[in-house]
Each structure stands twice: as C-alpha cells, then as structure tokens.
C-alpha cells in the first residue's frame, strides 16, 4: 500500500463544498455547551482540530431541534431557536480560518432522553415502547407532533445555513427519533408511519423533504445511520442499504454517515462506541456495503485509531471520508503530523473510552491521556519553549512522571527521569495485564517514545533517594512516585492479597477466590476476569449497587458481559468486614449494606482492591530541603501562572508532588497534574 498520505490527503468534493482531505471527526456531544450554545470552550476545541489539519469537523452531537428533545441539561446545543445563529457564525469563522469544513448534527432524540429536565415535557416516539437505556416510556406521536417536529427540523436547518456552517447531518442513528420510526424494534404503529419499511421510512422522508425545501438543493445535507442495528428485532444490513438508497435516490441527502449497531441499551451502546476490547474498524464492512449501493459519499467512524487503517478504508474504496473521532480527542493534530511525515508522533487513541464515559455521568469529555483536549483555553497542545532552561529531576516513570518529563523537555529543559522498575509505565503496566485492557499500554508507549525522542535522560532500575536527586543539582524536582495498594484496615486484612499481586503474577490465582472490590473501578472487575480466565472460581463482591459501578457506559457493559460469560458470581451491596484463617483457607465475612446481616465465604484466596496510598517517603525526605517546602501553589496552578517560588539559580530546588503520590486518583489526574504544572515551569 502506498503511504497513508497518498490516500487521505485528497480533497473530496460534495456539491460546492471542497473538503481538503479525507479525515474527519463525527459529531459528538462533549458536554462543552453552555446554556445550549457552543461558546468559546466548544469552539476552541474544534478550532484545535482545524489547526491540526482535519478536513471536516462536525460538532454538536445530538443538537436538538425541538423543546421536547432537551439539550441544555447535558451541556449540549439547542438549535431550536435563532439565538444560536451568532455562535454558529463565530464558530464557522474560527474553523474556516484554518481551512477545515464545519458541520453540525441535528436531531430529535425521541425516546432516547429524559423527561425530567429542562422543560419537563414527556418524550415522544413512534410508539409507546420503553427505551432501556433511559428507562423511559414515551408518548406515541400524534398528528400535530409530526407537524411541529418537522417544522422544528426545517427551522434548525435554516439556522445552520444562516450561521455559515458548511452543512449538517441529521442523526438517524443510535436510536434517535428518525430511526425509532425505521426500526421495527421501536415502531409498532399501524398507520402510514408503521408496518412496511416504506411506511417506516416515511417520517424521515418528510423531515428531509422539509429541510430540503428550507435550505435548497445546493446546501450539503447528510444523514447518520446504522448499517445494521445488530439486534434481533432491529434493522438488518439489507434494510439499511434500502433506506440509504431510497434517501439518496430522492436527492434528500448528499452523504451518508454509516455506523454499526444502535444504542438503545447498555451493551448496544457500548458496541456502538467500541472500546479497546474490539478490533480496529470492526464495522467498516457495513459502511462498505452501503457505499456499494448508495451512490453518494459515505462517511464512517468506529474505532479507526490509526492512519494506516484510515488510509486502507479510503484507498480500498470502502468509504469516502474516514472519521477518527476519538483519535482526534487523543491527538487533534494527527493530520498535520501525517502531512509533516511525523506519523510516529501521533498520540493514538487507546480506546479507553474515558472521554465518552464521562459525559454519561454529566461530566465533560476529557481524554485519559491528553490533558489539553477540551481545555484549549488554558492547556497548549503544542508546548512552547521556556525562556530559561532549567534542570529538572522527575522521580517515577508512570504516566504522571513521563508526562512531566515530556512537557519539561518540550519546554527545553534538561530532564532526568529516575524510575525504580526496569520498565516505565507504573500502574498502567499492571492494568494492561488484565485481558482486554492490554491496549492501555499504548499510553506508556507514546509517552516513553516521546520522552526518549526529546532527549530526556531516562534511568531505569534506579531507586531515587535524597543523594541521587541532589547529585543532579536540580532546579526543580517533581515526585511522581505513585502509590502502593491500600490493603484496608479491617480485621485480618493481612490475609488478603491485592489486585497488583495477582496481575503482576506475584501470586497465582488458585481454587476459589473472593475478589472484593471497594472502588467500583476497572481494577476489581478486570482482575476478577483475569483470575476466572486462569481457571479460578471467582466471586466478586462489592458494597456498590452493581459491579464496576464507577466504570462508564462504554466499558462497564463489556466487563459485565465477560464476567457473566465466565460464570463469575457477582455479589453486590456487601461490605468485607473481616477475614480469618481456617486451615490453609480463609473465611471472608461480608456484611449486607442494607440489612447488616453477615454472610461468610470459605475460599482459597481473597483479593482486595481498595485503591492506593501515596508513596511519599522521598517526598518527606526532601520537603524541608526544598525552596517551597513541597508546596504547589494552587491558585497559580489553576490560573496557569508560574509557581511563586522558583529556583533561584543559586542552589536549591523547588519540589512538587503529582499524581497518586499525592492521593490515589486516576491516569488522567496524574497526567493533568503533570502537564498543568510543567507547562509553566
């Protein structure tokens, strides 16, 4: 195959619109909206991709066209009135300045939302069929609902055009209103909108006809749809091809944006946003199938994480535009790096799904490994050089330490990184041992490669102490020494082993095992899966209401699916209160969180996951010797100012502690701690 550049850096013409290359980001809802508008933060986030060379960036996932499809509560965009137009204008100017095209996704969510927010209106759909993901039963649409909602679509379309956007797509995917009509799984009507596929297509056709009439034939309109709903009572691939062809032949749409699956329930949702447990580009064949029949440009997203795969998708003719949506969350400059022949420097999305998982609990989308994404106002994607070169010693080669070393080296400082283990990566190395979580190691791989490339003096297998640190005559010392497993303080805690012991291979899982998970994160669930795969009989117990409760919506269903498949017993709402030995075996005492009744389990092993406690020995050795006594000034940190106490150049150093070495949190926290601090050093 020729180089990815050859296939991807080729413009695509759709009507009057020239898209400069074949790489795009599909509409997503990052939760950056404010009062239903895409304001500065939202715009800067997409401007960064435009600067980074992307051909087309689509913003405003699920932007609403009507009052009964609420947007503001999820910090999404409402296109239901004219007040959004000035923001669109500002947005399109900003993106066009860098040569990229800008589009939005418009939708009515139908039943795929909640009624108890913003306007407190009942949700509507084709039929009164409950939507599993939102546990919500809609009202069946009646005649005036059709008129009102179709008019809403048309008016929203006009607002896009007036706002200077290059086009838009309607979502008829993920189980939104249009595909609720299409899908036999949600449409039980007997009128002209239900029954035959032709009838089920009718509502969507009426919508597109109305918007065409509103914006004219020369405006670019697309449709996002599934290529196969992948559920028994849903749309088949053939149905989807028929739909695409019908809409295209009628001149209603200029492109079709195809994905696999839909999102009515938790697992379906996880499949539609494939995480690292999926192979690369798992549903490309569905887009390809539609491409063969539709006769209009086809776009496609779903776990295309590397440019070689993207190029293959385009070069082999499967699609016309390849979306790398999360790939751009991880690295908004990936096209520029392709253009500059710096493929190695692309920070590849590992598919952790941290970004999407946050938005379903009301958070904003943030990348597990790129702390600048979504924070463009305060965090640079390209680190500027410092005025003064400093000597920096970083202790600890986990994600926080590596990021600190990387940012400091980008600043032009001379950096030494000391890591106790023989390989960098810290806890990521442990997490990546657990079956499908292997791809986590991609985070370490990129960071280590960058750090090496930037000339950081990485010393592995070196246990840092006061003497080793001071021998480097540092100006700044950053301690990213991470944490150690919290073993708990219940009676008999010493009779348990940690998830680290199991995952690192220090302790082999045998016989019957109780996995007690006190954090609800990935660790417990993936360790349970790991042990079950190695032949242990595993029960996972948690005080939470469900297993892996803290894990988000694109990952938790995969954990649950795997645990069920492996016959892992899941015991919720129970606290581990005591362990005592019985011969070679152990008895765990579990107390019900609600009845306070106690149960016992006689097992061969008990594994506990209770998070980490900081490794702070070196910190306290150095604290009183440092110029700032180890204090990071929080106001300066947040304001993006250099720390008030700086190395004075006459000996002495400032000392900072980051990541789990301060308090056990997560990878993003460690990386953000590092980048936020070091960008101003």
């Amino acid at each position: 195959m020729s180089s990815p550049a050859e296939a991807l850096l080729k413009p695509l013409q759709i009507k009057h619109l020239t898209i400069r290359n074949r790489v795009m980001s599909t509409s997503h809802a990052p939760g950056y909206g404010s009062e239903g508008k895409p304001k500065e933060r939202y715009q800067l986030y997409h401007e960064e991709k435009a600067k980074g060379g992307i051909g087309l960036t689509m913003f405003g996932g699920s932007s609403s066209v009507a009052v009964d499809s609420p947007a503001a509560p999820w910090n999404q965009i409402s296109v239901a009135d004219d007040s959004v137009i000035p923001f669109f204008r500002e947005f399109s100017d900003r993106v066009h300045r860098h040569g990229a095209a800008l589009m939005i996704q418009l939708t009515h969510m139908g039943r795929r939302t909640r009624w108890d927010t913003e306007n407190w209106l009942p949700t509507v759909s084709a039929s009164a069929a409950r939507e599993p993901a939102h546990r919500n039963t809609p009202k069946e649409m009646e005649d005036f609902d059709f008129t009102r909602i179709i008019a809403g679509y048309a008016a929203a379309a006009r607002r896009c055009k007036e706002g200077g956007l290059d086009g838009f797509e309607l979502s008829a995917a993920h189980g939104h209103l249009i595909d609720q009509f299409w899908s036999p799984s949600a449409n039980r009507r007997t009128d002209k909108y239900g029954g035959s596929l032709e009838n089920r297509m009718r509502f969507g056709i009426e919508v597109f006809e109305a918007i065409r009439a509103e914006v004219g034939d020369d405006y670019v309109i697309g449709m996002r749809m599934s290529g196969d709903e992948l559920i028994d009572d849903g749309l088949s691939h053939e149905d989807c091809i028929a739909i695409a062809r019908t809409y295209a032949e009628r001149g209603l749409i200029d492109f079709v944006n195809v994905l696999g699956g839909q999102a009515r329930d938790h697992l379906a949702h996880a499949i539609s946003l494939p995480n690292m447990s999926f192979p690369v580009a798992p549903f490309l064949h569905l887009a390809s199938g539609i491409k063969r029949e539709a006769g209009i440009p086809v776009f496609h997203a779903q776990r295309v994480t590397d440019l070689a795969t993207a190029a293959r998708a385009v070069e082999e003719g499967h699609v016309d535009m390849v979306a790398m949506t999360r790939a751009h969350i991880a690295d908004p400059h990936l096209v520029r790096k392709l253009m500059e022949g710096r493929l190695d420097d692309v920070r590849q999305c590992v598919g952790a799904g941290y970004c999407i998982d946050r938005i379903y609990v009301g958070g904003d989308a943030l990348c597990i490994q790129n702390a600048a994404t979504g924070r463009e106002r305060s965090m640079p994607h390209v680190i500027p050089k410092a005025e003064r070169k400093r000597r920096v010693v970083v202790v600890g080669g986990g994600p926080g330490g590596l990021e600190a070393a990387r940012v400091c080296a980008e600043r032009g400082h001379s950096v030494v990184l000391l890591e106790r283990n023989a390989a960098p990566g810290g806890q990521i190395g442990i997490a990546a041992k657990a079956t499908w979580r292997e791809a986590m190691s991609g985070i370490t791989r990129w960071l280590s490669q960058q750090v090496t490339k930037l000339g950081v003096d990485v010393r592995l297998g070196v246990e840092a102490d006061r003497a080793t640190v001071e021998a480097e005559s540092p100006d700044v010392v950053i301690l990213a020494t991470g944490g150690r497993p919290n073993r708990g303080d219940f009676k008999g805690a010493d009779l348990a082993v940690s998830t680290w012991d199991i995952l690192t291979g220090a302790v082999e899982p045998t016989g019957t095992v109780l996995m007690y998970d006190g954090t609800g994160q990935h660790h417990g669930a993936s360790c349970a899966e790991f042990m079950a795969k190695r032949g242990a009989l595993v029960e996972i117990a948690t005080p939470d209401r469900m297993v892996a409760e803290e894990v988000g919506t694109t990952n938790q269903p995969i954990h649950l699916r795997e645990l069920y498949k492996l016959n892992v017993v899941m015991t919720t709402n129970h606290q581990l209160v005591e362990i005592y030995p019985e011969g070679n075996r152990r008895v765990a005492v579990l107390r019900n969180e609600y009845t306070h009744e106690e149960e016992e389990r006689l097992v061969d092993q008990i594994v506990v996951e209770l998070g980490t406690l900081p490794n702070d020995g070196l910190y306290f050795d150095l604290k009183d010797l440092s110029l700032n006594r180890g204090e990071t000034d929080l106001d300066s940190l947040i304001a993006g100012r250099p720390q008030p106490v700086q190395a004075n150049g006459h000996g002495g150093y400032t000392l900072h502690r980051i990541g789990d070495a301060v308090a056990g949190r997560n990878i993003h926290a460690a990386i953000y701690d590092a980048a936020r601090l070091c960008k101003d050093i």
Partner: protein, 638 residues
C-alpha cells in the same frame, strides 16, 4: 650561426607541429557539421582567452601564475627566436630580451615541477604529462644558457652551445609532439575551441552565461536520410564538440568538482572526456589513460573507435557512467578549456533513450508515466492541487490575465514539498501579492525528461505548456523550483515562450525589502545555505537567497563549496531515478559539507534538494526550505 641554427630548429619543429595539428584536425572534422561564425570567433579569441579562460584559471592562483609564466615565456621566446632568425639577426639586446623571457618561462617550469613533484594533486594525470616539467625545463634552461652567453658576446665554446641548442630542440619537439597527444595539444585545440565554441554566448562577449539545452530536431531535415537522434558514435558529435574534447588538458578540475565522483559513483568527468578523445581514434582503447579512473572501474577494459558505439558494457563508456551524471554543471564551471560536459552527456543520453529505449530502471518507468499522464508519478493532474484544497488558489483561465503566476511544479505531488509550497502561498497572501495558478493545465515542465535524453517528451510538454501560458496574459512567473525556473526561463524561449521568470527567493527578498513582509521573529540560528545547481550555476542566482537569509536574521555560515562552486545534492538530471550505486550517496557527501560548518540547519531553495538532503539518515543538521524559515520569521502575532 647559433641564431640561425636555433631558428631553423624552431621553425622545423613548429612546422612539424603545424603538420601534426592539421593531421589531427581530420579526427574532429569528421564530426557532424555545425554552424560556426569562423571570423567572429577568431576575432573574439584573444578576448575570450584573456577574460573567460583566465577567470576560470585564476580560481587557483598558483596554477594561473605558472601557466602565465610558462605559456607567456614560451610564446614570447618562440616569437623572438623566429624574429631573430627571419628578420633581425642576433643583436645582443634581442638575446638579452630572449634570456629574460626564457628566465620567466624557467621560473614557471620550476613551479610546474614543484607542483608535480611536491604538491602532487590527486587529480593530475601521469603518463606523457609526467615528462612535462622536464621538457619545459630542458627547453627554457638550455636556451637560457645559450641566450645569456650570446648576450655576453658568446664566450661558450660553439660546440657546447650547439649541443644545448640541440637539447632544447629535443625538449621542444617533445613539447610539440604533445600537439599530437600530450600536454601541448591543449594549446592548439584550446585556442580553436575558444574560437569555434558551440556555445559562444557563454563568453563575456556574449550573454556571459548559456546553460539551456538546445532543441534536438526530431524530424530529419532530409527525408531520405533518417540519421540518428542523439549521439551514438564519436562522429555523431558536431565537429566543434569533438574539437572541444581534444582541448582537454587533463587538469582534473572537473574531477575534483564532480559530486558523482566524490560519492564514488562510476563517473569521472575527466576520464569521460578522455574516453571520448580516445574513441576518436580508430581501434581505440582507454589503456593509455593515466589519470584516476571512473570509481570502481579499472582502466584498459574499454574499447571503441570513431565509428563505433560509444556507450555499452564493453564500449568506451559504461552505461553506469553515463547515467551517474546529475547534470550539475560543476565540471563545466571548473573547466579551463570551456568544455561542455553536460551537453555531451545529454547528447549521449538522447541516443540511448530515443533510439534504444535504454533508459535505466526507474527512469524508464517514470518516462512512461510522464508520456501517459503528463506528470512523473502517473497521477491525475488534479492531484497536483490536493494539498491546496483549503487555500482556494485562484485559477487563471485561458484568456485571463494576472500579474504573477505561481508555477508549483511536480513537487506539489510530494508531501514534503507541499509543506514549503504552503509556506510560500501563505507568505504571498501575507504580503498581499496578487497571484494565480494554472490548475490542471500545469503539466510537468519536462526538465527531467530532457536531462534523461527524452527530447520528444520534453518537446511535447514544452510546446503544450508554452501554448497554455501564451493563452494568458501575465507579467511574471514565480516558482520555488529552480529546475522549472531554468526550463521556463532558458529553454522555453526556443518553443516560443518567454516571460520573466523569478525564483521565490528573489521575490521574497523583494517583498521584505519593500516592507510587504516584516521580520518579527529573527531566526537567530546558525544556517548554511545549499545552492541549488539550477539556480546558482545554471542561472547565476546566488545572492538573493543569501540576502534573504540575512534579512530574516540567521547566522549564516558558508560551506567550502558554495555559490557558483556549490556541490550538487544528487537530485538533478534524473540521477535519483537512474540510481546508479556508488560508495556513498551524493546527498550524504553534501550533508557532510554542511556538517563541517557546524550550522544547526541547512537551508534549501529547491524541492529536489529538500528531498535529497532530508533523506540523509543519522544525526545531521535540520533541513528547511527557505520559505518555511521566512514564514516562521515573519509570523504575525495574533
């Protein structure tokens, strides 16, 4: 008595020399006819010798000095001797004068000897040339004694004087024998070559520079006599080209300058010229050649003759030698005999490509693509503009007019070059320059095809590009590609197109000088500039890029080989396609030159140079196209 004897000897030897020269002339007169202004040429001869030749020779002052002493002394001595015998007889004043000029010559001869014995430059030929100091010393030394003696009234026994005269005569005849084959050959042929030079415009009495290749008539003038395209055998060269080869004095300056030779590719331009010289004789071989060989090839294996094919595995010139040349003109620039090596190379390649289809390897594939698609990569012509999809470059349609047309060239198909083109476009916009592009109608300019000998494809492209451009009104063409610049500026006029063609470095300098671009962030790095051959030697533009670099605040360092004497990156003449292997890669050698300056960055001003130098692996200075540096230096803070 002594005077008469001397004059007789001199006249006799000179007569033999003249006869030899006439006999010799049959060799080069066997070449094809050439249109030459004989009278004008002869009239221009002294001037060309004193100005143009000395300009070249003067680059190595020691050589210039000994040459002036030896040649001046020798010619003056001959003139005096003839005069003494024929007209004035032996007055003491004349003898004294003769002694002075002989002393001058002797001094020069001693320098020659010092050079050959002590300095021993690698590039000098041995063989007959090794006897040169002896003959010079013999002639000037012996006669000096005689002349001094005569000036003092003749105290030396006559017999001794006659022995000295005889010795001088022997030395002289050795020198004159050289008219046949040897050192003195160059004097006669060099003079004639200067007078009848195939490129009279290159001399100071012409334009001062003449580097464009001349069109090859593709259809024979006479239908009945098809003739061959290009040069197959020595006799296929025009006679004044053969004459030129005969002028070679084997000084080796071309060898020292040649980038292919330096990289150990099987090409030594001096040997190439000598191969041609040897081939002019019937039943020839290169066995008598006593200089450095083509690297990696021994001497003595090549055979040929005046009417035998020149290029072949056992012929005088191995195909690898022919296809190693980058057409950089470094040899031409250095040659004191004004020999046109590149013309010879292209003439030979024309036959190989047009008549035999023997273009090697990837070059043949490229030519196929070029013929089929009008671009070397065989891509759709629209793809030339892919990189600029977001720049909305205005297209100049037929019938339209614009001040400046941007010719992007084939680099526009390449990712690396696209970056510098983008920088240039942003700069033009920033400076408010009104420009347009041709769009799909821009074809490959034909440069590489032409240097590979594919004159047919070149002419087809040139004719169509000229027609496209002539259908539009434009004031000037700007390009970042020196190869396109050279072709459009110097080679398209023969096809009816002439415009002002400017290189982007000159334009950017103007824009900065005129204040249209303001340097806001001086570069402040140590930078060395690599002159593109097609901008420097081919077009004499070596100042603007430097002034531009100075204007953006770089700390400029010069490589030892720079400006008109710069060394090629290896990217010209289709060399990257013919890809003859050597001991090293040419760009590696050039990067070594850059490294020696200690500069942290090499600035280039040609897409080929960017690709070649950036392809050098291992630790090395960064490579940046000048436009990229100017872009960074004139960034507006927003």
């Amino acid at each position: 008595m002594i005077a008469t004897a001397l004059t007789t000897v001199v006249l006799a030897v000179l007569a033999i020399g003249a006869a030899l020269a006439v006999w010799q002339s049959r060799r080069w007169l066997a070449g094809r006819p050439a249109a030459v202004g004989v009278v004008a040429g002869l009239r221009a001869l002294p001037g060309r010798y004193l100005v143009d030749v000395h300009h070249v020779v003067g680059r190595t002052p020691f050589n210039a000095r000994f040459h002036a002493l030896v040649a001046g002394g020798f010619l003056a001595a001959l003139a005096l001797l003839v005069a003494m015998g024929v007209a004035f007889g032996g007055s003491r004043a004349l003898w004294l004068l003769l002694a002075v000029v002989l002393a001058v010559m002797l001094a020069g001869a001693l320098m020659v000897r010092y050079r050959r014995r002590v300095l021993r430059p690698r590039e000098l030929s041995q063989g007959r040339f090794a006897r040169l100091p002896l003959s010079l010393l013999g002639f000037s030394g012996c006669l000096l004694l005689v002349a001094l003696d005569q000036a003092l009234g003749g105290v030396m026994p006559e017999a001794l004087a006659l022995v000295l005269v005889a010795a001088a005569g022997v030395a002289l005849s050795d020198l004159v024998w050289g008219v046949w084959k040897g050192p003195l050959k160059h004097a006669v042929h060099g003079a004639l070559h200067l007078a009848f030079h195939p490129r009279p415009a290159r001399f100071h009495d012409g334009a001062g520079r003449d580097t464009g290749l001349k069109p090859l008539p593709l259809a024979p003038a006479d239908e009945t006599e098809p003739g061959t395209l290009g040069v197959e055998r020595p006799v296929d060269f025009a006679w004044n080209r053969l004459l030129g080869f005969d002028a070679c004095v084997q000084c080796g300056r071309c060898e020292t300058a040649c980038p292919a030779y330096a990289a150990g590719l099987p090409l030594n331009p001096k040997k190439l010229v000598q191969d041609l010289v040897a081939a002019m004789d019937g039943q020839a071989s290169d066995a008598a050649y006593a200089g450095n060989p083509h690297p990696g090839r021994g001497v003595g294996k090549a055979h040929g003759g005046a009417a035998l094919p020149l290029v072949g595995y056992d012929a005088m010139i191995h195909p690898d030698t022919l296809w190693s040349c980058t057409t950089c003109r470094a040899c031409v620039q250095e040659c004191p005999m004004m020999i046109e090596h590149v013309d010879a190379v292209v003439d030979l390649r024309r036959f190989q490509t047009l008549e035999l289809g023997a273009t090697p390897g990837k070059a043949a594939v490229m030519l196929e693509e070029l013929r089929a698609t009008d671009n070397p990569g065989g891509r759709a012509l629209t793809r030339r503009w892919d990189w600029a999809a977001d720049l909305s470059l205005p297209r100049l349609a037929a019938g339209g007019s614009c001040d400046m047309l941007l010719w992007v060239g084939d680099g526009a198909f390449d990712l690396r070059v696209q970056r510098s083109l983008r920088a240039l476009v942003v700069l033009l916009r920033r400076a408010g320059v009104d420009f347009a592009v041709l769009g799909e109608e821009e074809l490959d300019c034909g440069d590489v095809a032409r240097r590979l000998g594919d004159e047919a494809t070149f002419q087809s492209l040139a004719t169509r590009n000229v027609a496209t451009l002539n259908a539009r009104r434009l004031n000037r063409i700007v390009t970042a590609d020196p190869h396109a610049l050279h072709t459009l500026r110097n080679e398209y006029p023969a096809f009816g197109g002439s415009w002002t063609v400017v290189h982007h470095t000159a334009l950017l300098l103007d824009l900065i000088t005129a204040g249209a671009l303001t340097v806001t962030k001086p570069v402040g790095r140590s930078v060395t500039f690599h002159d593109p051959c097609y901008l420097g030697r081919y077009n004499g533009e070596i100042e603007a890029p430097r002034a531009l670099l100075d204007a953006i605040g770089v700390e400029r360092r010069e490589m030892l080989r720079a400006g008109l004497r710069s060394s090629c990156c290896g990217g010209g003449g289709g060399a990257p396609l013919t890809d003859v292997s050597g001991e090293r890669r040419i760009p590696d050698v050039r990067m070594e030159h850059a490294r020696e300056t200690g500069a942290s960055l090499v600035a280039v001003a040609c897409p080929n140079c960017a690709l070649m130098l950036e392809g050098v692996v291992g630790p090395r200075p960064e490579v940046a196209e000048i436009a990229e540096l100017v872009l960074a230096a004139t960034e507006t803070t927003r």
